[in-house]
Symmetry: C2
Subunit: 198 residues, 2 copies
Amino acid sequence: MSKVTPLGRPRDPAVDERVLDAALLVYGDVGWSGFSIEAVARSSEVGKASIYLRWSTKQDLLNAALLRSIAAVADRDTGHIRADLIGLTRQMLALYLGPSGRAAMRLSLDGERVAETRQWHAKIARARVTAARSIVRRAVERRELPATTSATLVLDVLCGGAMMHALSTPPALRGKVSRNADAYAYAYAEQLVSLVLD
Amino acid sequence: MSKVTPLGRPRDPAVDERVLDAALLVYGDVGWSGFSIEAVARSSEVGKASIYLRWSTKQDLLNAALLRSIAAVADRDTGHIRADLIGLTRQMLALYLGPSGRAAMRLSLDGERVAETRQWHAKIARARVTAARSIVRRAVERRELPATTSATLVLDVLCGGAMMHALSTPPALRGKVSRNADAYAYAYAEQLVSLVLD
């Protein structure tokens, strides 16, 4: 019943996913300096040749893995400073506590020095700064915050708090947390935002 | 006039320093997976043979570099919660903004997975948690903070805020900031602590 195509067997999407999952974990473990198609082949148990058929360079492979798993934060206007900040913080916590967390943290470090990762780092950072500025601006307009509030200070505290919390959660526990990430991230995001607002 | 020693020329301490400085920067740039005596030799312009005479493995070399430059935080009891927290935050900011900052951040990531860096990571993290707990405990005893205050939440925010602030300071500016690190770290530490306490 299988359709014959002149280009040979169709690509198996399950293999793509296995390779991209592995690429994300390998990058999270070793950063750009240790990242290689060979290491991803070993970790995913997919042959190097099959990987090269799909992505011809390690840069292409990493781009595909990041594109699939790491989203820039979205700013949703709820009309209230507290809910806006909790929404932003939840997204950052879910990222750092989830399976892409270590890759996201590697990006913040590599992004400064490694040309191949710079655009990713810049895109993620820009989305956060833009969201934090908009949230604070709206809150100032609604007189929920004083006009002197520094959006970058608020962002440093919430994003840094989220990252630090993930880093200090033991990996074993992080797995548990991650299965229940949404409820957990919500509760912790609330605590972080309360510390800043109250 | 030089004293003849049976073991040959005495080691030149300036070479030691050059190698250790380079080791810290190389580690900060590439993490454990890219760290090698060869890379440090290239960066320091000291021959590999001379480096091996001093440190026989890359682990010994990294240990020596970290021991020289990365201190665990010290908890100084000033009698007031604000000054205690500012003191703690200043130390973390000075670390992350200074020349060892990238190495310290690499350690937080490598420390989880790479056996060779685990003890360093644990030592730094333990000193911070102990300091934060003592500071919060004293503040609760003085009734400056409610008994329910979470020391880890406070630490996540201050330490994460310090790390994030360093990460979002452009490298060029960070150099400038670093030359004036003490005054700068003090001012920013005050802002972070005010956000938490006020």
